[in-house]
């Protein structure tokens, strides 16, 4: 039992440090003596400046950060002897003993050396406890925000094209603020589509990372008027220290069920035993739209609501914003530091953004407090907290009868029956679509090390995401004059417990063992409460209570996943590593007859460059191999047989619901991967290569129930089998490395393949051997004409081509069309042939490439660019953006109409234009998904000269995002589906000041 006096002494320093860090007390460095300065320059072995190096005097709270030019200065240093340290992630730390005399200026320069492969760097994700990178037999990709010169303003832009095999796709058009996205690692390994997305942790706490649901409109139609927002978008990117990505079961076995799609772990910044470092990030910007329509209809009639260039906006965009164009600002302030017993990182952020359409706006507040506390010599207690609040205002978009985008695109054949933009604009003025999101993530970790060789770590995590979506059509709204309101509150909670213990011991000679054991339990709680009302004449600010007719809905679900694992790492001479492990899982979604699931793993790594035969001048190299198994849980209520209380006229009405399958278990995916990490030519060339192969058994497959037996809902079975494989390469090259000039080039490439090995059902057996969820290079016919995938009996009747045809008039590639009456099909159209299908591309990219170039110039100025390529897949593009099926005359089709008033197309028009312009209800194409996006161009300029010496570092960065988009579809941006607006080009000026 420690005495109160002891405790007071122990924590007084920590509290003083915290208060000082928050700026409430003068710093300890303000001594009576005349202050001295320590200054100098940090360079690499070639003399090139190294920025963002932490330089601090150990034991004091004095420190600084190296600037873009490598220069640093520590001011107000009292006379004395110090240990001056220089540290940066990825570089070998350095220490110097210095003596400072009063009033003097001491110059100390550092030459930092890179930890080429970072073999002794600690990684956490996919391992039991922490592990040195040299031990790990699988690929762990690390994203370091300091390597991203474009200063991302969201997590999604930190992930895009950053790791091989990672595909990030927006859920809507991409152009709405806060819009959700889907992350996919190594393609699709599930038939049901319920998996193939990674689980995400922040500081060891499992979080809800799927997109929040769409909510209904105030007419209770199922068509949402907004995009699904992402809770990940609420994470402040400036809080992130690093992101670790493991891509498949070979690495994710210890996460068990739900981890077959990989794991992403975000680590936020922590305090450290050093001087407080304040960082201010502030940026301002604007945006505009790239064209996404056809010639003559560049924006598909949305021109009045968009901007066609910087500061050049349509009528309603101008009217909405005080400056006449949309603006954005992102601000963040943080401080990190600490003493021996308490380290802290505290941050706050405020974002205010205006979007691509007039009403699209977002405000976000974000606060974080991460504290590390050492209450006892053998105990470390970490408490990480994040609260975020976001308010989003949306323009009505999507396939919604009252929406602005739909009615603008359909003109007089829209539901407003008018092409008058002022009439269509009432979809904005008379309709409020807002949502308030809150997110709280808190996690406490106790690390207890009673023996040098025994470590225990216990983490409790709680993640709360809540969305209140309010959707109000005011009285007088054109389609619903009496007004309507819908309020949907969606709450998702994750409660997680994670324990891991590790005991290390020596066996024989150079052989040692590290044995780990542990368990996790994760509860996932969902609730959704919706209230609907209509008819509130006279009420300007209605609530549901204001309505004359109201309805309420509620749904809830809970799932628990729990498991335990064992793992042993055998280490021979720090060169050879063998890891063996297993996990056993139970999950509340498993059928009652199923029981527990077993997942084994094994991996090995060999640090070849540590061998005596390895030439010193060859650099470093690690060879690795891993095998592992993990799973995907079934849906929450698949196992049970239930009925729905559908209700009729206020009375109970039970109708067949879920037929249930008590034998249902998880999909089980096994994976092996082989690869190497290397650093060659004096660390100038750094390749990382991985081959992987995944095999999923017991894939969950749904079969429609038989109406003749009452239950028509799909029943899920563990029936299918799939295969998934690919190659991944990451290559970083330092092409030029001089004192004033430097050129770095980065490149990632991945090739993904997959196919269905076994499936059930008469109509789907023909899909065996084809990619999962494949597209077909044809156009489908069925009873309704085109656009539906199968005929009634499941047989594909298709048109095919030996090759893609280019449009003879425009040169547009890859349009597949069918013969039209009166047109010779051999001239412009593909042959009608149900036997000879051209091919079955994947429905997601099978080739992913990312590239970045960074040019460093004198005076610390640098220019960088980052691009992304996605291809090797097909996607279906409807022509609905030009709603010809609604008989809207399209400007693009004017040359092809028979006369000046009708929508009838001339008979001599080529087949491709006939298909585009003939009024029909659901025409569409499978087209090549190949696209290139120049994600960012940035230029960074040091601004230290504008600030006093006390400011460690100041930089101004000009960034353009989504600068250029190239794709095969002339119908529009590849993302412009379902009456959405695609991603806009943004221009920002971002200032970062560290002091």
């Amino acid at each position: 039992m420690k005495s109160p006096v002891w405790l007071a002494r122990r924590y007084a320093g920590a509290l003083a440090l915290l208060v000082a860090a928050l700026g409430l007390l003068p710093t300890a460095g303000s001594a009576q003596d005349r202050p001295a300065q320590v200054r100098g320059r940090v360079t690499d072995s070639n003399g090139a400046p190294v920025s963002d190096v932490q330089l601090f005097l150990a034991g004091s709270n004095l420190g600084s950060l190296s600037r873009q030019t490598g220069a640093y200065v520590i001011v107000n240093v009292p006379a004395g002897t110090y240990e001056l340290r220089a540290e940066k992630l990825g570089l070998a730390p350095q220490t110097k003993q210095i003596t400072v005399t009063a009033g003097a200026v001491l110059e100390e320069n550092f030459t930092m050396t890179q930890q080429a492969l970072g073999l002794d760097e600690i990684v956490v994700t996919g391992t039991a406890g922490a592990a040195k990178r040299r031990e790990v037999g699988n690929q762990v990709a690390t994203i370091n925000p300091t390597d991203l010169p474009e200063r991302p303003t969201s997590v999604v832009s930190m992930l895009q094209a950053q790791a091989p095999g990672m595909d990030v796709t927006s859920m809507g058009g991409g152009g709405e603020l806060g819009e959700g996205f889907q992350i996919n690692l190594r393609g699709t390994n599930s038939i049901s589509g319920t998996s193939s997305t990674p689980v995400i942790f922040i500081d060891g706490v499992r979080i809800y990372s799927d997109n929040l649901p769409e909510t209904g409109t105030p007419d209770l139609s199922s068509n949402s008027s907004r995009t699904r927002p992402s809770p990940l978008a609420m994470v402040n990117p400036n809080d992130i220290e690093r992101i670790e990505v493991i891509s498949g079961p070979a690495a994710s076995t210890l996460y068990g069920t739900e981890a077959a799609g990989g794991v992403i772990q975000i680590f936020t910044k922590k305090g450290s035993e050093r001087a407080p470092v304040w960082t201010l990030d502030s940026s301002v910007g604007t945006l505009w739209n790239q064209r996404f329509g056809l010639n003559g209809e560049n924006y598909l009639h949305l021109d009045p609501w968009l901007c066609s260039g910087p500061f050049s906006c349509g009528q309603f965009q101008k009217e909405t914003h005080g400056l006449g164009f949309p603006t954005s600002q992102n601000n963040s302030l943080s401080v990190r530091g600490g003493g021996q017993t308490l380290q802290y990182f505290v941050s706050g952020g405020y974002d205010n953004e205006q979007g691509s359409t007039p009403k699209d706006a977002l405000q976000r507040l974000n606060g974080r407090g991460n504290f590390t506390f050492n209450p006892l010599p053998d105990v470390i207690f970490s408490w990480n907290n994040n609260y975020a609040h976001q308010f989003r205002d949306n323009t009505s978009s999507g396939n919604n009868a009252g929406g602005l985008v739909l009615n603008a695109m359909r003109q007089e054949q829209g539901y407003f029956g008018s092409a008058d933009s002022s009439v269509i604009n009432t979809a904005i003025t008379e309709w409020d679509i807002t949502e308030t999101m809150e997110r709280l993530t808190t996690g406490a970790t106790i690390q207890y090390t009673p023996l040098e060789k025994l470590t225990n770590r216990l983490t409790f995590g709680y993640d709360l995401t809540q969305q209140e979506a309010r959707n109000i059509r005011h009285v007088g709204f054109l389609l619903f004059p009496q007004g309507g309101i819908d309020n949907n509150t969606y709450t998702r909670r994750y409660l997680s417990f994670d324990y891991v213990g590790t005991f290390s011991f020596n066996l024989l000679g150079g052989l040692s063992s590290s044995f780990s054991w542990g368990g996790q339990a994760t509860g996932d709680f969902t609730s959704e409460v919706e209230a609907f009302g209509e008819g509130f004449p006279g009420t300007k600010l209605p609530t549901v209570n204001s309505a004359s007719k109201t309805l309420g809905f509620e749904s809830r679900s809970t799932t628990w996943n729990s498991g335990f694992f064992l793992q042993d790492v055998l280490n021979l001479k720090e060169k050879y590593f063998l890891t063996l492990g297993m996990r056993v899982d139970g999950n509340s979604t498993f059928g009652k007859n199923f029981g527990l699931q077993f997942y084994p793993k094994a991996s090995a790594s060999w640090v070849a460059s540590d061998e005596t035969f390895w030439p010193d001048n060859l650099g470093e190299m690690k060879v690795r191999a891993a095998f592992g198994v993990s799973g995907t849980a079934p849906n929450a209520i698949i196992a049970r047989r239930t009925w729905n209380n559908t209700a009729l006229a206020g009375n109970p009405a039970f109708t067949p619901g879920n037929r249930g399958n008590p034998d249902i278990g998880p999909e089980v995916t096994s994976e092996y991967e082989l690869g190497f990490d290397a650093s060659w030519f004096n660390d100038r060339v750094r390749p990382r290569y991985t081959y992987y192969h995944q095999h999923t058994t017991d894939a969950i497959q749904s079969q429609a129930g038989l109406a003749s037996l009452g239950f028509t809902s799909n029943v899920s079975f563990n029936l299918g089998e799939t295969e998934n494989w690919g190659n991944e390469l990451a290559l970083d090259v330092t092409a030029v490395q001089g004192r004033n000039w430097g050129l770095d080039v980065g490149y990632t490439w991945s090739k993904i393949g997959n196919r269905l090995l076994m499936t059930q059902g008469a109509t789907s057996s023909e899909n065996v051997g084809r990619p999962i969820g494949f597209r077909t290079w044809t156009m489908y016919h069925n009873a309704e004409g085109m656009g539906t995938q199968r005929t009634a009996d499941g047989v594909y009747i298709t048109t095919t081509c030996d090759q893609f045809f280019d449009d003879p008039e425009t040169g547009e590639e890859d349009a597949i069309v069918v013969p039209r009456a009166g047109i010779d099909p051999t001239i412009h159209a593909c042959q009608f042939d149900s036997e000879n299908i051209y091919g079955y591309p994947l429905n997601r990219p099978s080739v992913l490439m990312g590239s970045n170039v960074s040019l460093r110039m004198p005076f610390g100025i640098s220019i960088a660019a980052r691009g992304e390529y996605r291809g090797g897949h097909g996607y279906w593009r409807s022509v609905s953006p030009i709603p010809l099926g609604r008989n809207v005359r399209s400007a693009a089709c004017l040359p092809y109409y028979r006369d000046n008033t009708s929508v009838t197309v001339r008979v001599d028009v080529s087949a491709i234009w006939a298909e585009r312009c003939v009024a029909a209800e659901a025409d569409g194409y499978d087209i090549k998904g190949e696209m290139f996006n120049l994600r960012s161009i940035s230029a960074s300029v040091p601004m230290d000269w504008a600030f006093p010496d006390r400011v460690s570092s100041a930089n101004l960065t000009l960034v353009m995002n989504n600068v250029l988009h190239l794709s095969h579809s002339m119908w529009g941006n590849y993302q412009s589906s379902q009456e959405r607006v695609p991603e806009a080009t943004t221009l920002r000026a971002a200032l970062r000041v560290t002091f």
Partner: protein, 509 residues
């Protein structure tokens, strides 16, 4: 060393507790709230809910199909909308199109299955009150009658005692008759008996038990009505809405119009309150959404006194007045329909008695007051059996307008078939013959003329073939690879996944 040992013990206890917790949690069972567990359905408090469930399924079929079929049967004219709440190219061309669709098949099958499942469960209990049993039998009767009218073929495969698995539509009527008879054996209140008699009369008409149909129909008074409830507003369930009304509501759909239908001009002249329509109150709503390619409305608009539309192909929109809201119920049986069943059964049983049938028809007709004159409607004057059939079919179309019944009526009456072009597509209709394998045509004993409008004729563009061809210029029937149908059939899903039946080919039942 001692401290290390203590620490080690603490650590192992810590680890053991954590592992034990994980294992306990791994075995825990979670029961999510919301859905009703199967066991609860056997509870007495769930009995009425189960019967209501059958009616809810009937609601889904009738509320939706009354609209979908109206285009095929020419009760409505296409407004141009093909997407949300619109009508497909196939329906515009008079083809059901999705005749093996899962939607109507699933809901209709579930209506039958749920009601009969209720009876099975109630029989097992043996203690269910007569009132509840009556409701269950009535629900099963109407569900089967509805299936019989909508479906030429079906699947009944609950067990070895059942007639299936593959059954003809006639089997539904037999089951309906049986359930109604059982209802009558336990019913105690008059209204339940009227429901049973009315339903059994409907079934017997199809089963050609004309004497039985007449006997049952005569027991049902004129003011009787059995509705299937439409219920969008209290449940907020789209499937429970009256789609006839909702698809034509000014806001937002206006998908169809009464213009060019037989009823449009007839109502303008007669004011028959059974087929009312009116202009939309809003001037801007005077044209339907969508527009028909090739339809030139300029002249017609002027003739009708309508303002010019912004799009030249917009169809003038006139609104039915039978249903005012999307909650308006739809009739399953009524006293007036019973009068017409009496008349039709008489015409079939004894054609020479057509004057007596006309008396019934005119008595019903003149019981209505004209919306125009507020006087009784003028009676029809028939001079032959053929006239009598014409007036019977016409009156029945007025009486059941937009109730989803004409679809089946046209299958039962032959004139529609005769009016099809001789070189047109093969018609599939009929029933199994005595040997259970061959398809027999319905006997040609329904003369008279059907009031079949020529939609093609209204296209002022002489080259338009919008009502026979699809929008790509190919004949709709040929392009859609299926014959013109007057009934739904076994769904594609049931065909593909039910191993007990072998009906993969659409051309075989």
């Amino acid at each position: 060393m001692t401290n290390e040992r203590h620490s080690g013990r603490r650590a192992s206890r810590f680890a053991t507790a954590a592992l034990a917790s994980a294992l306990v949690l791994a075995g825990c069972e979670v029961v999510n709230p919301g859905p009703v567990d199967d066991e609860f359905i056997d509870d007495p408090t769930a009995q009425e809910g189960l019967i209501n469930g059958a009616w809810e399924r009937m609601n889904n079929v009738v509320g939706d199909q009354a609209y979908d079929m109206a285009m095929v049967t020419r009760e409505i004219f296409h407004g141009g909308q093909t997407g949300s709440y619109g009508q497909s190219d196939a329906a515009r061309a008079g083809n059901l199109g999705s005749w093996t669709a899962s939607g109507p098949y699933n809901a209709a099958q579930q209506a039958r299955w749920v009601s009969e499942e209720a009876i099975r469960r109630f029989d097992v209990r043996g203690d269910v009150s007569p009132a509840i049993m009556t409701k269950a039998y009535l629900a099963a009767g109407y569900a089967n009658r509805m299936n019989g009218e909508f479906f030429c073929w079906g699947v009944i495969n609950e067990g070895p005692d059942e007639p299936g698995p593959l059954v003809s539509g006639e089997e539904y009527f037999k089951r309906a008759e049986s359930w109604f008879t059982k209802a009558l054996s336990v019913a105690v209140d008059n209204n339940s008996k009227f429901e049973a008699y009315a339903g059994r009369a409907q079934a017997r008409l199809w089963l050609e038990d004309y004497a039985g149909a007449i006997a049952d129909a005569r027991l049902v008074p004129n003011d009787f009505v059995r509705m299937v409830e439409m219920d969008f507003s209290t449940g907020g369930v789209t499937g429970q809405a009256n789609h006839v009304m909702w698809a034509q509501a000014d806001q937002p759909f206006r998908s169809w119009t009464t213009l060019y239908t037989y009823y449009h001009d007839y109502y303008a002249q007669s004011g028959d309150p059974r087929v009312p329509w009116a202009p939309f109150p809003r001037t801007e709503a005077s044209w339907c959404l969508g527009g028909l390619a090739g339809y030139r409305n300029t002249t017609i608009r002027a003739q009708l006194g309508l303002p010019a539309a912004t799009a030249t192909n917009s169809v003038p929109c006139f609104q039915q007045q039978k249903y005012k809201t999307r909650d308006d119920d739809i009739r399953m049986a009524s006293g007036p329909e019973m009068r017409l069943i009496e008349a039709e059964a008489m015409l079939r049983q004894n054609p020479a008695a057509w004057p007596q049938a006309m008396q019934i028809i005119n008595a019903l007709r003149t019981s209505y007051l004209s919306d125009k004159t507020e006087k009784p409607l003028e009676p029809w004057s028939a001079t032959s059996l053929e006239d009598a059939w014409t007036y019977l079919m016409r009156e029945r179309s007025f009486e059941t307008w937009l109730e989803g019944r004409r679809f089946a009526d046209m299958r039962r009456w032959e004139p529609y078939l005769r009016q099809m072009p001789s070189d047109g597509p093969t018609l599939k209709y009929g029933r199994y013959g005595a040997d259970g394998s061959t398809l027999e045509a319905i006997p040609a004993h329904t003369p008279g003329q059907l009031d079949w409008p020529c939609f093609e004729c209204v296209m002022s563009n002489p080259t338009s073939n919008l009502f026979t061809n699809n929008t790509r210029g190919r004949p709709a029937l040929e392009d859609l690879s299926m014959p013109r149908e007057l009934c739904y059939n076994i769904s594609s899903n049931e065909r593909a996944n039910n191993p007990k039946i072998n009906v993969q080919d659409e051309d075989t039942p």
